[in-house]
Amino acid sequence: MKRSLKRHLSLVLGSAILISGLVATVASFGLAYFEAKELQDDMLRQIAILSLGNSTDSATSTSLQRDLNNDGISDPESRIMIFHLPGDTAHAWLQRDLSPGLRTMDTGTERMRVFVRGGQLEGRTIVVQPTEVRDEIAINSALRTLIPLLLLLPILAWLILRIVRSELAPITQLSSSLDEQPADRPQPIADDGLPDEITPFVHAINRLLDRVNLLMGQQRRFIADAAHELRSPLTALSVQAENLMHAGSLDAMRERVIPLQNGIERARQLTEQLLNLARTQAGMNENSEVNISAMARELIAEYLPLAEARHIDLGLDEIVPLSIRAAPDALRLILKNALDNAMKYTQEGGEVTIRLLSDESGAIIEIVDNGPGIPVSESERVFDSFYQMPGSAGEGSGLGLAIAKEAAIRLGGVLSLHERQGNSGLVLRYRQAHDS
């Protein structure tokens, strides 16, 4: 369910203000209306009191009424009429026996507000005003109190939209700056000027971008290296094929097919190693309990013909029987590449041993040889893709140990190269912690 924070905020704030505004409007209208009516009642009372002094003289009462109407005390539209009883001729609807006080009476044509003062004996003063006029005045004054409120409402709504938009602007900017990022080399996002609530977000995104960049850099280098490494076998192949064309005789041609076949084999091996690496990087099969002792024996059996051909003494040194949880394919790939490497750099008559041991932290598999060893400065670089030892004959792809290292990382283990204690030679050590 998608929701826009901006719309949501504007809506909620807007309706809150609208509702409270409406309540305030209704309340202030009502209050002002009743207040205005009360004021007018008071006015009727005051007029009655004022006109009391002239109550005996009927002539003055009419002049008072005239005064009231003409002297600006009240505007003519207020239509206030004053009667003194007995004396003045009153309208028929004004009954003679009206008790003192305020009331509303119906004349038949309109409704009147009537104030009666004094009892029947001493003579009464009656002040009359049509309710229509009173209501109009009350409504007008009540409405006037509403004007500022009603004017404020749209301004408030506009302000809310503005504020919500400007408060959320950093987020909009953030997303557009993310959109503008080049996909192949995303740059970290600047976090200055961003609200505290968003910065952790930005930091997390930046960390992710860092990891993506690192990985992409590795991949880019790998592809460049791979393309570079493919050149050598391809060059050999193209020259070898061309040589075949220029062979003078069938025998010469046969002779020249052999290097071509070797060239094809070399290209095939490189391609396979590249595929292995790609597969290892893509992930691997489920873990299961792997019997290392059995796997080591299988591998030794597999490499024995090669070892015997080169008079290398290949053997197993099983200090403890080992069994670890791992992906069998990956583990096999590590050991195979390690063995390949050891066999390649060990001279005729040398010795290669798979040694199985464990310590308190985990299981250790070592491939030990007594070859020439390598300088300490190179012991990390040998794990780089396509790295070849300086002075090595230029055979092989330089991918074997890189693949093994990658597989080791996937298994959660550590692959490292060490000098052999006491003798010349190398120890390639794979260590995997218990329960990892």
Partner: protein, 220 residues
């Protein structure tokens, strides 16, 4: 024409050697920068094919040293380093041409012919002294109206002479230009070749200067 091939990759080295021999060059092949430097000091080669990624001594280093010593043999750099910066560096260090792996062997041979030709101070693709004309691309020679095809060795011999018309080349100088290190040279091999060339193009093509060696006449 004797070429020094400096290439550490076993397969490429072997294949390029075969291709060069097919094209009638004498080829010596070394696999590292150190050996290359000491061999180049002898000055036995008329052209050098140089790989850059060499063990023991980098190809560019070899090139720099070669030029420092005043060796002017044409050098074609053959390498997998295809960056523009690498090419510029290679040419600035004194290479005459630059070829990126993987390359077509025919292109390599054509470029080789071109740098050798320019080394001899001429721009036309064929070599001539006015009497005989030699096409290094096809190994065809022309004298008068007769156009003949020469064998690899015959071509090498005539090519060596035609590169410097008017100069006398001794037997050992000719042998050096025709045969590589590992090739067995019969004592009268040069005589046989001269005989064969004269038979195809006429006796007057190659002059024998008694006690000194052989030459082709300089054009007038």
């Amino acid at each position: 024409m004797r070429i020094l091939l400096i290439e550490d990759d076993q397969m490429i080295g072997a294949a390029v050697s075969v291709a060069l021999k097919d094209a009638a060059y004498a080829v010596d092949w070394v696999k590292d920068g150190m050996t290359a430097c000491s061999v180049l000091e002898l000055g036995e080669h008329q052209a050098v094919l140089l790989d850059l990624g060499l063990p023991k001594r980098d190809g560019l280093e070899v090139l720099r040293l070669l030029r420092q010593r005043g060796n002017t043999a044409p050098v074609i750099v053959i390498t997998a380093r295809d960056g523009v910066g690498d090419r510029i560096k290679g040419l600035d260090y004194g290479a005459d041409d630059y070829l990126v792996k993987p390359f077509d062997v025919n292109e390599l041979l054509a470029r080789l012919r071109a740098v050798i030709r320019r080394q001899g101070g001429q721009a036309e693709p064929t070599l001539t002294n006015g009497k005989v004309m030699l096409d290094p691309a096809s190994h065809e020679a022309q004298s008068g109206n007769a156009v003949v095809m020469l064998s690899s060795r015959e071509f090498s011999l005539l090519h060596a002479l035609l590169l410097r018309p008017g100069a006398i080349l001794t037997r050992s100088e000719l042998e050096e230009r025709i045969y590589g290190w590992n090739e067995e040279v019969e004592s009268n091999a040069v005589d046989f070749l001269i005989h064969a060339v004269r038979k195809k193009l006429g006796a007057a093509v190659i002059k024998n200067v008694r006690g000194a060696g052989w030459m082709v006449e300089k054009s007038i």
